[in-house]
Amino acid sequence: MATLTAPLIVSSRAEFADSYTLSRYLATGGYVALRTALTMFPEDVASEVDQASLLGRGGAGFPAGRKWSMLRKAPLSYLVVNGDESEPATFKDHYLVERDPHQLIEGVIIAAYALQVTQVFVFLRGEFALGLERVQQAVNDAYEHGALGSKIFGSNFSIDVVVHPGAGAYICGEETALIEALEGKRGFPRIKPPFFPAVTGLYGEPTVVNNVETMSNLPWIINNGGAAFAALGGGRSTGTRLFALAGRVKNPGVYEVEMVKNTFRDLIYDPQFGGGVIDDGAIKAIIPGGVSAPWFGPELLDLPLGQDEVAEKGSMLGSGSIVVMDETTCVVRAAWRITKFFSRESCGQCTPCREGSGWIERAMYRLEHGEGRMEDLDLLLDLCDNIAPGLTWPPQMTTICVLGPSIPSSVHSAISMFRDDFIAHIKLGRCPHD
């Protein structure tokens, strides 16, 4: 059974219908952490976060403190918040921006103070119309409240936060593509090196890009100390994390769970969380961290929800989304649909991703619709190999950004785990689930 001793760090206001308002936020301890932070040296704020060893919650899982420490010293620098949550089946940032925008803003101001950055852009996914309105209202209220603007809360620190709407492009979740979009361009990920926007980011200036959930953890860390955060979870995976559970489960939703202390099975089956598989069917496979991640079979359900634990088994915790597929699921169709997504969302900048995603999608479509050939399976694996040589995880890549090597994950997983299902499609000349 699930371990439920940890406090709720980012979803503590879930019970309130008006959780997004300033009044509720203030009534529940809001902006206390910021006032505390403003009495500290900025670097002490940063070291609390470092001590918490808070891993970035966007997908790559890079330690936030380390990211901050790489920020090149320059007269101008920027903080950009990545709220372009688009990884399929991931909906935890959606939850945070709609339900607790002030927590996000407070986290942002704390981060900006620690980094001594005075201009912040909060990039929110364009499809979050309500979320955009809630965050914009929170920003307006925060200015009114004195938490934003000139000399906030009577301190010597001034800050502006601009809410920037995206416009529908998955790739803008990639931090350099997000910066391009913020510069008003097509969301083409930047070629590396430089590897980190912390050196050359927005307008070529040093820039830190942090995820919405990462930011939302900061008020709690300042209120309770980095050590308290680090005491939760296990290994490198400290604290709690929001998991978005979706697919063939009885209770899909966003659940805050202490890391490592709980397993995939806990999350899927515990009545407080997923409550088990629909119709109590058997799990065929799960996608452990967004559709970019290689799949797990049911034999790995007892794996702890920890970054390194999942990485060791050749996948990733990624964006914190878990999709459950059961015996009713056609894995060929699932893998095809995921490939179609990547093909639609490929920015088109570099060849292997642009052409590879379209080719693989069309071949997968044929297979799903009973028009496949046996040789297609090896062809698909070879095309995948030409995008992500060796088909390892973490991947090698022939592309500019990681969207490319994300394409093979589901195709490679499906073919290697469920080759018989493909053969059945080919032999039947149609999808057996139709």
Binding site: A169, G253, R344
Partner: protein
């Protein structure tokens, strides 16, 4: 000779004031152009090009990268039905087929009365209410064909005008003012912080 209405033009200029470089305002300005015209007209594109010191081809090329911008007129309501993985497992494809039949338009098309444009969406990040349907980027949370039909009836009858504004109107909460951290003050504040940091480092080294 602005193509933008006075209020849109004013908001456009306010938006421009929020960014260090004009081009950064591209996406918000395109949203504004779409708010006025319901799609990105050539005139709207030309005005955004002027405001951002770019060219119409550049603006158009940029806009076309993003799903939410429409270069051709669309219905008053753009209905997006997600068929991505979580919704696929919850009947997203069937919902899309139903919507197409009920609205009488193909996916990507517009209904004869010009009211509805139907799109197949990628994941809209509301996967616990699957299959996910958005109208003009508002979550409508209709997961069954019957609920969908009722929603369409409500939209047609104008009963949801408050919840679902016409296509293009993305954000009804506007920023209450421009930048307020005075740039000169910010510079001196950075210098103060720097000297504080150095003073402390000196102290520690003693």
């Amino acid at each position: 000779m602005s193509h933008f209405r006075v209020d849109i033009r004013q908001r456009a200029e306010e938006v421009l004031g929020l960014y260090p470089r004009a081009r950064s305002a591209m996406l918000p300005l395109l949203h504004l152009a779409q708010e006025q015209d319901g799609y990105l007209s050539d005139e709207g594109i030309a005005e955004v090009a002027e405001l951002t010191s770019t060219t119409p081809a550049d603006v158009r090329g940029t806009a076309s990268f993003y799903e939410m911008f429409h270069l051709e007129p669309v219905g008053k309501y753009v209905v997006g039905v997600c068929t991505n993985i979580a919704c696929l497992l919850a009947g997203g494809e069937e919902m899309l087929e139903h919507a197409s039949a009920f609205l009488g338009c193909a996916v990507g098309g517009t209904s004869d009365d010009g009211m509805f444009t139907l799109e197949e969406s990628e994941c809209l990040a509301d996967c616990d209410v699957a299959p996910c349907v958005q109208v003009n980027h508002r979550y409508v949370r209709t997961t069954t064909p019957d609920a969908f039909d009722a929603l369409v009836g409500d939209l047609r009858a104008g009963r949801l005008d408050h919840d679902v504004p016409a296509h293009g109107t993305l954000i009804r909460v506007h920023r209450s003012g421009g930048l307020r951290a005075p740039r000169a003050e910010v510079a001196s504040q950075r210098a103060d912080a720097q000297s504080a940091r150095e003073a402390r480092a000196n102290e520690e080294s003693k």
